[in-house]
Amino acid sequence: MGVENRGGAASYNYSRFDDYVAGGGDLADEAAFRASPRAGEPAGDFTLLRLGDGAQVRLSELWQTRPLVMEFGSFT
């Protein structure tokens, strides 16, 4: 992982929510949602780790035969 990627990961994984808001991070997130694919457009396809079995899963495999409901979240 390069220096640039590490920097990206560090700002993405903020450690203080108040500083994130003070820097306008929440506004940028709302803008990112609005800029994301619209209804009717193709969704981004990515390969991710599945927690249960550690398998690498491609999203397009999950939506191949039936709709995929995808909720985003974290513990906190």
Binding site: N13, S36, A39, G44, L48, S74, F75, T76
Partner: protein, 145 residues
């Protein structure tokens, strides 16, 4: 999709490695008893960025990969109602009629349980509660200007 910790605190810190991110995903699974598959995004949030960075979104992707529904906050009731409507309308239509696709965009309201949310912040660690309080002050100041 497990993303990043939205309100990190002393007990549940933000991610500084993929190992810590995996630990966070396991904590989510164990503490909330989620039975659905959990996919873990990479440390830089590549998938989260592509789908719009909001902390608790729900997306429905139709078979074939077309976005059918996107909400910047999750309401299980709203998703359920959408799916029922969407699947029924697509598969059943009156004789002589064709199913024609159209788009909608709406505002919805959600009701947050402030007491429960405050308890969750404290569970994350005391500083998570302090930081959220400061964020609320920042939002109030923003709204006033």
């Amino acid at each position: 999709m497990y993303t990043r910790e939205a309100h990190p605190g002393e007990n549940v810190p933000g991610h500084d490695s993929f190992g810590r991110k995996l630990a966070g995903a396991r904590l989510l699974r164990e503490e909330t008893g989620i039975c659905r598959d959990i996919l873990v995004d990479d440390l830089a949030g590549t998938v989260h960025r592509a789908y719009g960075l909001m902390p608790n979104m729900t997306w429905v992707i139709d078979r074939g990969g077309q976005v059918a529904y996107k909400a910047n906050w999750t309401s299980a009731a709203n998703v359920e109602a959408f799916l029922a409507r969407f699947l029924a309308a697509r598969s059943q239509h009156p004789a002589g009629a064709a199913a024609v696709m159209y788009e909608t965009e709406q505002i919805e309201f959600r009701h947050t349980d402030r007491t429960r949310f405050a308890e969750h912040l404290l569970r994350n660690g005391p500083r998570a509660a302090v930081e959220f309080e400061r964020a609320r002050e920042l939002w109030a100041r923003r709204a006033a200007t």
